[in-house]
Symmetry: D3
Subunit: 276 residues, 6 copies
Amino acid sequence: MFYTDNKLQYPVRVDTPNPLFARALQQAIGGVEGEIRVAMQYFFQACGARGNPKFRDLLMNTAAEELGHIEMLATAVAMNLDGAPLSMQEEMAATDRVVGAAMGGMNLKNLLSSGLSAMPVDSDGVPFDMSHIYASGNIAADMTANVAAESTGRTLAVRLYNMTDDAGMKDMLSYLIARDTMHQNQWLAALEELGGMTGAFPIPNSFPQAQEKTDFSYAYLGFQADGSAPVPGRWAEGPSIDGKGTFVTGKLHPSDQKPDLGMARPDSGAQAEQIG
Amino acid sequence: MFYTDNKLQYPVRVDTPNPLFARALQQAIGGVEGEIRVAMQYFFQACGARGNPKFRDLLMNTAAEELGHIEMLATAVAMNLDGAPLSMQEEMAATDRVVGAAMGGMNLKNLLSSGLSAMPVDSDGVPFDMSHIYASGNIAADMTANVAAESTGRTLAVRLYNMTDDAGMKDMLSYLIARDTMHQNQWLAALEELGGMTGAFPIPNSFPQAQEKTDFSYAYLGFQADGSAPVPGRWAEGPSIDGKGTFVTGKLHPSDQKPDLGMARPDSGAQAEQIG
Amino acid sequence: MFYTDNKLQYPVRVDTPNPLFARALQQAIGGVEGEIRVAMQYFFQACGARGNPKFRDLLMNTAAEELGHIEMLATAVAMNLDGAPLSMQEEMAATDRVVGAAMGGMNLKNLLSSGLSAMPVDSDGVPFDMSHIYASGNIAADMTANVAAESTGRTLAVRLYNMTDDAGMKDMLSYLIARDTMHQNQWLAALEELGGMTGAFPIPNSFPQAQEKTDFSYAYLGFQADGSAPVPGRWAEGPSIDGKGTFVTGKLHPSDQKPDLGMARPDSGAQAEQIG
Amino acid sequence: MFYTDNKLQYPVRVDTPNPLFARALQQAIGGVEGEIRVAMQYFFQACGARGNPKFRDLLMNTAAEELGHIEMLATAVAMNLDGAPLSMQEEMAATDRVVGAAMGGMNLKNLLSSGLSAMPVDSDGVPFDMSHIYASGNIAADMTANVAAESTGRTLAVRLYNMTDDAGMKDMLSYLIARDTMHQNQWLAALEELGGMTGAFPIPNSFPQAQEKTDFSYAYLGFQADGSAPVPGRWAEGPSIDGKGTFVTGKLHPSDQKPDLGMARPDSGAQAEQIG
Amino acid sequence: MFYTDNKLQYPVRVDTPNPLFARALQQAIGGVEGEIRVAMQYFFQACGARGNPKFRDLLMNTAAEELGHIEMLATAVAMNLDGAPLSMQEEMAATDRVVGAAMGGMNLKNLLSSGLSAMPVDSDGVPFDMSHIYASGNIAADMTANVAAESTGRTLAVRLYNMTDDAGMKDMLSYLIARDTMHQNQWLAALEELGGMTGAFPIPNSFPQAQEKTDFSYAYLGFQADGSAPVPGRWAEGPSIDGKGTFVTGKLHPSDQKPDLGMARPDSGAQAEQIG
Amino acid sequence: MFYTDNKLQYPVRVDTPNPLFARALQQAIGGVEGEIRVAMQYFFQACGARGNPKFRDLLMNTAAEELGHIEMLATAVAMNLDGAPLSMQEEMAATDRVVGAAMGGMNLKNLLSSGLSAMPVDSDGVPFDMSHIYASGNIAADMTANVAAESTGRTLAVRLYNMTDDAGMKDMLSYLIARDTMHQNQWLAALEELGGMTGAFPIPNSFPQAQEKTDFSYAYLGFQADGSAPVPGRWAEGPSIDGKGTFVTGKLHPSDQKPDLGMARPDSGAQAEQIG
């Protein structure tokens, strides 16, 4: 269950509104690396968590935090849209080049659909699609998805920080970047609790590896057209990271099987030539 | 550049065709954990790789492998659809219960749209959406996304293995599971080359951490309605995983700022009551 | 800012798990009439609210409630998936007809992607798409969208109530139906505060009606092929509902303008025949 | 059944083509508030209408009108694209700043995909998704969805009217705004025929309210973190709008139930640690 | 402009309602081969047609026809849903096997979202996405897209005809199949008017072929891993179909260029290791 | 099975990087007329091909070629993003007007999500959706879809060629245009092998035409509101293109059937007024 207090987690200040930066910030709301994604991902992972209940609690606690991040960013978007041109006359009257390019450079939906407010869309106006909520029912797989989400999320926040020259926005982003630092570490820590590299992997660790084709489990295979060895690296030799095998390098030999589905069935809507 | 030889990477055999399992296999083709996703993800990551070229080569080599996995699975789907009912008469004539439930339990598009062949959709008939191709331009962030993809991918393959009782299908899946084992290890190995936990994180490691609000960088904050401390764990105390801080636990104090966007502008399409 | 307490708003009890009903409940989570939609819609409307701040508070308060509804439903989905068949052997061993049809009748993603947990998808496995979050920047338009959301939402909840024969599920749904009753009334009450039928409409009420083609503002026009009058009703005569006009009935006379875009430009990629 | 006459419902005139305004107009075609939405929504509601046939007729009649609105807007988009730059050379030769910004500010698909014609996409180039066609099978719920569609639709049309300085476009929009005025009134009138506030609500009115948890049916509940009362208003006290209850204000007391799904099943692809 | 008469183009009769066939029919409404697609495709092609106006008229006339096909199919879906089970009790009481499997085999949205009516979704419940409306601004390219649409559309209709054993449904489908026969011929005839194989192709025929790399214009190139020649056929030798070249067969020699993007820029959010 | 050699099929050279052209090129990667579409379409058609195996080989061979085209275009996008502004300061420092408009005119995701690399999205940032992969199981229908794909694809490539003034880009596009010329011819040649106009059509040619309502099979019907004949042309008289009939022109007479679904069922969530 959730509660609210109508306060912002951290102050949101915009010194010079910039509609183009409003558009960029939309990526942090409705982009695949954005805050809707992590808020809903942790929420659904929590709702489906089985086993030790502390993971549910950890996930739901962080979901609550991320909801507040959406709120901050949505406020920042609206503030950056202050003064955006609403008409061709305003557009042409603008003397500042960046602002003058604003209407063409905006998500027009931020003007036409939401009346100068934030939307759950990315920086090109594409709505967020909930298929990006990864909640696998495997707690370790979920943690890897969370590390990935926070890694791309912090990369995005850094790019936004580098993009803006507004001190208020830089301040807000420096907070969000710090939280992403923590969240990367937090999910890595959870993975450590789950056994770390050698305990948790290969995910799922509940499948008996004897049942997989073990000749291929730690083989780094080349798919080079000239049959040459693929590029060497840590992945090509030495003990595997999961501690359960040794990397070997080789070239895949295809099976002799040429895929052949035979003729089509008479009533299947195929051409007559496809029917035996 | 790519080449083909019209052979299957590994033999595909179906002992007893099962249209319901064909539907399940679609998840491994067009689901978010499926093979289109990894093939295209590694492909686009390769195309955008900057820095040491060996990562490009590693990624493109693996993309070539994954294309062959799609081919294997698509063949398996078509084979499992052999004998699927094409008409109500065939449906009613079926005596086997599982096959008898086939038409209602199929993706009907596998019959109506593709004529008993595989499609780039998931097990509920939802087409794959390329926004799931994560290629961030940050090579370490990409590796975390790849670990996540292979972790959910192997989880899916294990579920399919557990679901089927067909020896041919179990054999094919035992190969794919082994490859997922390798690929999890491979991307973890790449992450190790990039500095591992303490070198690569926080991602991106090119951002000077002095510019983030460091009070919040390693703070595990509670968002519990009663103000209680959040659930303890490895994430709550001790050195951070990235080796650059120490976890502390606390409660977030919201800012005093109540979000207030003020009145709406006269020409913005708001109600009169919203206009100052 | 948001807080959580890891408790359910209202008890969730499933007497007899039913995987098919789990699928049906998904509609109430990720369907367009579902709880993600209202939670996020009220959230974004709140974030963009301008004018009297009480609407922001009202909206955010209700968003917090709806988040708890998602949590309840996600718990109910997972509980209904208890005992769902994971393999063909389990499927064939089932003696109960409804459960026996379970695997084919399930969202297979509830098994393959989420490991017997809820997902942000609808009852056919289609992910929720955030374009359904209507937040227009016009507070009265938002209220009409909310009335519509709760009207379709309560209709859905009633259908689910009628579908199930599980006492626990009926109890949970009777709570959600009651809340939908309140929310329909609540948004209608907000509309009343905003002036009601004659004050708020036509939305937006800030546009001077003198600037619209007033001949057409209250005219009920027929588009019947034989030129006959369209079907009569309250909309065909008498005072308009917004109190600003009188309904008249007529037949539209098309303009004489036949749309003609002329020839294509030489470099526009048209066929030579289209170019002047 | 439908017929056409290849005439425009109302004259479409563009005095000064403006590719940026072409992009804005796309929102009125393929945006969620646009004309495809209402045309198809009324069409599908008509096709599924049960009960008094006059609602089917009313809906289909209006669907025919809205199809003509798409046609008008598509013509307007193409006309506004006249003279849009097709090459970098044309782009650089433009002396007018607004037009000079055209290529970057256009939906490039209007040039690359459709050859300077309209598309069924919104102002940011996102294709219209038919999940926005709300047709619930409950005639009153449908009417609320229609009021919402016309409210956001008229808001959009007003924003477009305010945005443009082209007399021809203002004339066309003043017609469309007038029709939206009528359609808002029309659907409200239909709702009145269906019993109005006290007869139609709560929707669906066919569900016996005795079966809902009546303690919660008219209770305005607070979800404030500090336990304070939520913001007062018409929704907080007095008779309910549907005339069937009295608003009371309170604070929700969560159930004592902490959601707990227990351990995962052995073959469900979970981590070993999640399995009992 | 459009008109309606609330009559069906051709009689729709269902002898024995079958909810599973209702689901199958949805593909003909909202599938990519369905009637929404052709109705809207011809409509938008008409709206964007430049050059000889007869193509606009032809397209819009056929769009009007296709709208009536959606209406017929939507009626057929609703009729097939008559008697579908609304509750688990009804489900279990069903004695007929096919109908008994109905609830699990239905699009549940046909019950939960639309109340036993048609929706603009495909047979797996996926909403139609308007990006499938191909209207290229090149009239010949449009005709090829229309031939493709009617070819897959007739294939779908034939599969539906073969699937059902209901005489009423077979009658309706035999009408729709005939119309698809006509429409395939109609668009091929339009292509003939545009010059046929040797006049219209390569599309667009307005591009001077001297500007393309003519060595590759009629070369059938092999991408076989072993360097062998690709499979022979009409495409491998002889005059090209467009009459402007001669087919030759060869093997592509890749350029020597290895793609190399160099190092990443310092502020681009890459890892430190990627930055020079 | 697939192999790679990390070489480009044809040289990719950008003389003057242009971020706006990078955005335009995205359409050729992730647009519906783009290379992902054809690569995956031929791949899936190959995987599902039944009948003469040479079509499978032809399709898979061309799929391999198209994968290399994506690689070329992705490289070109990244090269065109060289020097794109990463910050407002860089944006304002730009002196060149076209480049100066870059940030607003870019897909911001090319900067924020992918770090100056290509993405599987179109020129407006919309991700490619795999529902555009048409693979019908009918080999002739597939060929028509391929002709359509290459016709719109070449139209797009020509528009890009006309748009750019960069000699390197023009060179690359002249290669891709030539390949599209070949591929249009190739699929037309395949259609000729399948019997050409009179042998392959109407598709599917395996359905006995005696079972269709032959009165309507070659009738060009008018849907003009005034009952006038539709526009004449090759489609209006003379032998049909498939050689199996003669075109006649007429006016459709609607059936007398007014669609009427009757009353709603009591438990279906309809309004009370809809229930008999």
